[in-house]
């Protein structure tokens, strides 16, 4: 599993400016992680927690009005912020591939599959003629498109949803990138098709050693696919560590509550309920952003933003009570969540 560090994100900060700059929204606030070859990291959290903005910041694809205001993104040691637009264009698709949620929106309805799948290989790898055709056929085969010679002359509307998403995967792999960012790639797929697709991504990863960043709100996907998980809340990392450790004993009250609020197959146990709403990013509390909803909050929680503390090997949690709560067993799975 261990390989060279491909991507090193350090203290990334991204802001959105609204109303002519009179309102500043910090969508990403000090996010750090590394991704090694062959590794899969899951970015999880609810809507607006900054997981997609983190990815767009890495790809330098932020919309107008948003900009990276701090931190660095290193791809194999190169600072992506220092690259010219032209150089960055070479990184996108070639070194970092992307798979988006809605394959109907990410494929061009006017071009055949061949034209779309070949594009990265054509532009970034310089393949032409027979070699290019071979590459496209092998990619379509690797994502299990039946009879690729026939299918590659067809258009996206002739494909099912699962096939379209596999085509999007083939395009992401076309130029053999080192990293693939998959942003909710299976949200629009049916259960059996989703399982097939996730297994396919895993086997492609085994074959190519690509590093995967999985953006999702679905904890089941993280359990199935990821080595590491980073739980985000209101733009900040609240917990980060190996999936087994985080799922086995979440150390941040939000991560813990999130894990326990998911229905379990065949279980009638009442769900753990986090009351309240995620905070408004334009108006964050001065301390821990989860403090107003946290069952374990104490006065100190509201005073300063808690730092990420090491709670285990490669496992960090941004809760000042992590150690104390773990010792008391309060944040452990199965506990009733209440505290003395």
């Amino acid at each position: 599993m261990t390989g060279d560090v491909l991507l090193d994100v350090q203290d990334l900060e991204t802001e959105y400016r609204a109303f002519g700059g009179s309102r500043v929204i910090k969508a990403v606030d000090g996010v750090s992680f590394t991704l090694e070859a062959g590794q899969t990291i899951g970015l999880v959290g609810e809507s607006g927690c900054g997981k997609t903005t983190t990815c767009l910041s890495i790809m330098r694809l932020l919309p107008a009005g948003a900009r990276v205001t701090g931190g660095r993104v290193l791809l194999e040691g190169r600072d992506l912020a220092q690259l010219s637009d032209r150089e960055m264009q070479h990184v996108r698709g070639n070194e970092i591939g992307m798979i988006l949620q809605d394959p109907m929106a990410s494929l061009n309805p006017l071009f055949t599959l061949y034209d779309q799948v070949r594009e990265p290989a054509y532009h970034h790898r310089g393949l032409r003629g027979g070699a290019l055709r071979e590459r496209v056929l092998s990619l379509l085969g690797s994502v299990r498109i039946p009879s690729p010679e026939v299918r590659m002359r067809e258009y996206p509307h002739q494909m099912s949803g699962g096939m379209r998403q596999r085509i999007a995967g083939a395009i992401a792999l076309s130029a053999a990138p080192k990293v693939i960012i998959a942003d909710e790639p299976t949200t629009s797929l049916d259960v059996t098709i989703q399982a097939q697709y996730l297994d396919l991504l895993k086997s492609l990863q085994r074959d190519t050693g690509v590093g995967l960043i999985f953006v999702t709100h679905d904890l089941g996907i993280v359990a199935k696919m990821c080595d590491d998980v980073m739980v985000m809340y209101a733009g900040r990392t609240v917990e980060h560590g190996p999936v087994r450790q985080v799922f086995g004993q979440a150390r941040h009250p939000y991560a813990d509550a999130l894990l326990r609020s998911v229905p379990k197959m065949g279980s009638k146990e009442p769900l753990f309920r986090i009351d309240g709403q995620p905070p408004n990013l334009a108006d964050l509390p001065p301390g821990c952003a989860f403090e107003p909803r946290c069952p374990h909050a104490i006065t100190e929680c509201a005073q300063a933003v808690p730092p990420l503390l090491e709670v285990g090997p490669g496992h960090t949690s941004a809760c000042i009570r992590s150690v104390e709560l773990a010792a008391a067993g309060a944040a452990a799975p199965g506990a009733d969540g209440g505290e003395a």
């Binding site: 259960v191 999936v243 609020s261 229905p263 197959m265």
Partner: protein, 335 residues
């Protein structure tokens, strides 16, 4: 099942004529068998869950029950009356009793109406309450779903997704509905908000005794909410039973594949699931000209000659557990 079912669906069929091409020219391509012979019943205070993948006909069943569309054949009985025959006042009373909550709380609430009018409208239509009484009742149901009565003067855009879904539930319950059709009612919500709404639905059912037909594709949510669950494949029920039994001891190869495809709860479950996973390949065929015999046979790892020739019927495999498969004895413990 309780003695008298509140809703009883018998041999329900809904076929759609397939598109005749642009502007109705060209020859007809046959019929889409969206729902093709479905039977189930829901008791008072009970939750029946319908699961299945896109195009299996679960939403069509909701439309038929809500009388948005007429069935091609089959019967829907509500409280002992044939729904198809209801007219006038009786139909109005039926519409009052059976209410719906849809998936997208952004599309199902009028952006130009205040919450008071959205929730109050149903009372204006179905009761002769005075405006003052309606306002009081609106306050009551908002309180019931965990909103503040003073929020009645706000517009939907002033609420979050979870709060809007609460408004939709308040609207459905305002005129004392006896059954709610919940079509993917929590699918669009974030994880922590979804848990809030699921808990709310459970609590409302305990307090009010209302029945739910819960339609969804998320197996864990359906098996959590429902007392009994029906698994649909291409317009037919392939397995029906107690939700815990069906999710822990599925008998139909499709149900087994479906539950094996479900995402794990913990990373260790992922490894366990991998070993026993029933290989299911390919995609759901079209409901236009569905496969002969058992509709699942082209994808079924166990299929034999009989499966493509003869259509299996639901047979009892256990107390209150039915499955429609020719090879039932072979399927025990495959998961």
């Amino acid at each position: 099942m309780t003695a008298e079912p509140l809703l009883e669906v018998t041999d329900l069929v809904r076929h759609y004529p397939a598109g005749k091409g642009l502007l109705g020219m060209g020859s007809s391509k046959g019929v889409v068998k969206a729902v093709d012979g479905v039977t189930f019943a829901i008791g008072p205070g009970e939750t029946f869950g319908l699961v299945g993948e896109s195009g299996c006909g679960k939403t069509t069943i909701a439309k038929l029950i809500l009388r948005i569309e007429p069935p091609t054949s089959g019967r829907i009985m509500f409280d002992g009356r044939d729904v198809a025959r209801l007219t006038g006042k009786e139909l109005l009373a039926y519409r009052r009793s059976v209410q719906a909550v849809f998936q997208d709380p952004f599309g199902s609430l009028s952006p130009r109406m205040r919450v008071a009018d959205i929730v109050g409208e149903i009372l204006e239509i179905h009761t002769s309450m005075t405006p003052a009484a309606i306002a009081t009742r609106v306050g009551e149901v908002l309180d019931l779903v965990g909103l503040r009565p003073d929020q009645a003067r706000l517009f939907p855009h002033e609420f979050s997704g979870g709060q809007r879904q609460r408004i939709a539930i308040a609207r459905a319950l305002a005129a004392d509905a006896r059954m709610l059709v919940l079509d993917e009612a929590v699918s669009a919500l974030d994880v922590s908000i979804r848990a809030q709404v699921i808990t709310l639905l459970e609590q409302l059912q305990a307090d009010l005794g209302v029945s739910y037909l819960y339609i969804g594709h998320d197996l864990a949510t359906v098996s959590h909410l429902a007392d009994r669950v029906g698994v649909m494949y291409l317009g037919r029920l392939c397995e029906v039973g107690d939700s815990v039994t069906v999710s822990t001891d599925p008998r139909h190869p499709y149900t087994q594949a479906l539950f094996a495809s479900a995402l794990p709860h913990l990373p260790d479950d992922a490894d366990a699931a991998r070993e026993v996973a029933v290989p299911v390949t390919g995609e759901v065929p079209s409901a236009l000209n569905p496969p002969s015999g058992c509709r699942f046979h082209p994808r079924c790892p166990l299929a034999e000659a009989r499966c493509s020739a003869e259509e299996p019927v639901l047979v009892q495999v256990d107390e209150a557990h039915h499955a429609a498969c020719h090879l039932l004895p072979l399927t025990v413990g495959r998961r």
